[in-house]
Every structure is written in C-alpha cells, then in structure tokens.
Amino acid sequence: MCGAPAQTPSLPAGVDLEKETVIYGVVSHGDAPVPGAYVRLLDSTGEFTAEVVTSATGDFRFFAAPGDWTLSVLHRDGKATAPVSATGPGLVEASLTLH
C-alpha cells in the first residue's frame, strides 16, 4: 500500500458495517473544514430523516439504509446540497463544499 490511508469516519464501538449503512463525509468552505454546520439527511421524497452538527474537523456521519438520499447543509457562511446513493451496507462517502 502506498499513499495516505483512506479517510474513514470514527464510529461508536460495536457498529457492524455488515449491517449498518454509514453515510459520512466532511463539509468544507474553500480548503478549510467547517465545524458547526448543520447537515440534514433527506429521504428519496425529500423528507427530513436526521440532522447532525459537524465536528471540530468538519466531519459528519449518518446511519441510514440502502437507497437514494440527499444531504443538505446549512451554515452561516453558506449552503450545499448533494445526492448520495447507498447500494448496500457499509461506508458511503459524500463530502460537500459550501457556496
């Protein structure tokens, strides 16, 4: 293996990635990560499913299910949205940039 290890989210102990569908990523603005951004997970009809606040390093994480989702970010410095699809259990990365 060469290069930097792949970025992976910090998960609570006991989370089984054979069963859980984890959607995770970083919110950034320019090159800088954005802490304290409100990230929403919307279902395939656009309805609210969950919301988290990004960590000091701009990270967020959801426990979803296979299917089509949308991420929507709200922060004083801007907004962002992005579709994300999970085909099965495991990790799905989706990072967003405020504009």
Partner: protein, 277 residues
C-alpha cells in the same frame, strides 16, 4: 395556551439574559454541547442522567424532581426558558416534563441552539452557579402523559400521530439516522396512526412554523379535532415537539405524549403492527 405564552424569540432571550426570575436551561441529546458554549447564565440539564430514573425505565419521581430543580437553582415562580440542539427536541421534552410536574411558567426558545448559532449570537463557556432553592413539584399531570394500554386502546378510536420520519414509520429505519440502526424492537407503526413527521412543524432554522401553517398541516392529514390525540415517536422526545405544537401553540385540548413510544410499543408481545407507508 398560545404562542405568546409558550414561545420566546432569540431577541427576547438576549434582552432577558439577566432579568431576575428568568432561568435559561439548556437540554441536549449531545450533552457535551453545553460545555462547548452555552447561552450566558444558562444551567445544563442532562435528559438521560437527570430526567430518567437510573434503574427502572421511567421518569424521576416527584421528590427527585424537586431535588433536581432545587439544585439547579430553579424556584417555583421562576420563568424557565428551555432551549437545546436537535431543533429543540430535548428542550421540548423538558418543557413537557416541567409541565408534567406542574411548573407554571415554562417557555421554549424558538429555534433553540441552532437558530442562536446561525444568527451568530454569543455563547459563553463560563461556569454557571445558581443559589439552591427549595422547589415544590406537583403530582404528575397525567392528562398530558399516555401509557401503553391507553395507546393500544386508542387504535381506531383516537388520533394517533406518529411523528417519526417516513422511513421509520414504514419500518425501513428503526431509529433516526444519526443513530446506529440495530435495535431489538420490530419496525413499523401503530395501526391507524397518521404519519406527520415532527420536522413538518418546523422551519429549516429550527423555529416553529406559523399557527396558520400548523393548522393547515394537521387538518390536511385528517387530524380529527373532535377526538383526543396521542403523539409518539421513538423515545418520546420528538413527540414532545409535536405535543408542544398541538397543545401549547394551537391550543388543542386532550393531547398526550406517549413517552414509551416505539422503543416500548415495538417490543411488546402480541400487539398489532403495520408496516409500509
């Protein structure tokens, strides 16, 4: 009740940070949020360790609640202003809880922590200490709390409102998606329950929608004003948010929060469950 009695704006809060007789209380799911910065002078309430009995699954009893409020420096005649993260879920839960034990003057800060932060208002890391009081609680007001047998008996009889997200209602998810999904209970919802996600009652910044929009929301889904209503979610916090909208903002009578919610109902042997939308 009405909006003016139950809800305060961030502007009002900022102007009343030092008003005698007004106590700000922060309640979060993420109990470390307070330590990273809170509204000046606000005390912290931990819903898990302070509002729940630590052995049985139930609330703290009257005497324990009296001791808790006394230690936090809350008096019977204080105006308690609650706010928190998660669009005020746990603050609404604490609001309902203070009402359950008969506190007269409780208010919710509209938009909670989220609006406060989005507005760029000041947060403080100063340690807050208030002088202890001697708080007297009333017996639980069971006209706002539903238990499981009453909820089962309400199937097809009363309004049942499931305020979880559509994917939890259908059984696709077992918890809101910021939490791991592996759970012991079955997925689905109580038969005849209407699915009105709590989020439909709130704007994107966490504030409540207008009374007019709220009225339209609940009439559109077929909530029958003539019947009593029981709201539930997974553990009773999001349904406190909807209880607040119906009972405190719109002034509906006979609205109860079923705090056992899906974690209890979905674990019961032999009760009917419906899946799908």
């Amino acid at each position: 009740m009405s909006r003016e009695d139950a809800l305060v704006t961030a502007d009002w809060a900022e102007q009343n940070l030092n008003t005698p007789g007004v106590v700000f209380v922060e309640v979060d799911e993420d109990t470390s949020a307070y330590d990273g910065g809170h509204i000046e002078g606000a005390v912290k309430l931990d819903w898990k360790t302070e509002l729940q009995d630590q052995v049985r699954r139930d609330f703290v009893n009257k005497e324990q609640f009296e001791q808790l409020a006394s230690e936090k420096g809350i008096s019977n005649d204080d105006t308690v202003v609650l706010y928190g993260g998660n669009n005020n879920w746990f603050a609404a839960y604490a609001y309902w809880y203070f009402k359950l034990y008969g506190h007269d003057d409780v208010k919710l800060l509209d938009g909670g922590r989220k609006k406060w932060e989005l507005d760029g208002r000041e947060l403080s890391k100063d340690t807050v200490s208030r002088e202890h009081t001697t708080y007297t609680a009333k017996d639980q007001d069971l006209s706002i709390r539903a238990f499981r047998d009453e909820t089962i008996a309400a199937i097809g009889q009363k309004n049942l409102i499931d305020v979880r997200s559509p994917d939890e209602f259908s059984g696709k998810l077992l918890a809101p998606a910021h939490l791991p999904q592996e759970q012991s209970q079955r997925g689905g919802h109580i038969p005849t329950a209407l699915n009105v996600p709590w989020s439909k009652a709130a704007n994107e910044d966490g504030t409540f929608k207008s009374d007019k929009d709220l009225r339209q929301l609940y009439s559109e889904v077929g909530l029958d004003d003539a019947k009593d209503t029981i709201a539930y979610c997974r553990i009773g916090e999001r349904s406190s948010h909807t209880w607040f909208a119906l009972h405190e903002l719109l002034g509906h009578d006979n609205v109860k929060n079923y705090d056992g919610s899906w974690t209890e109902y979905g674990s019961l042997v032999g009760v009917p469950i419906e899946k799908g939308a």
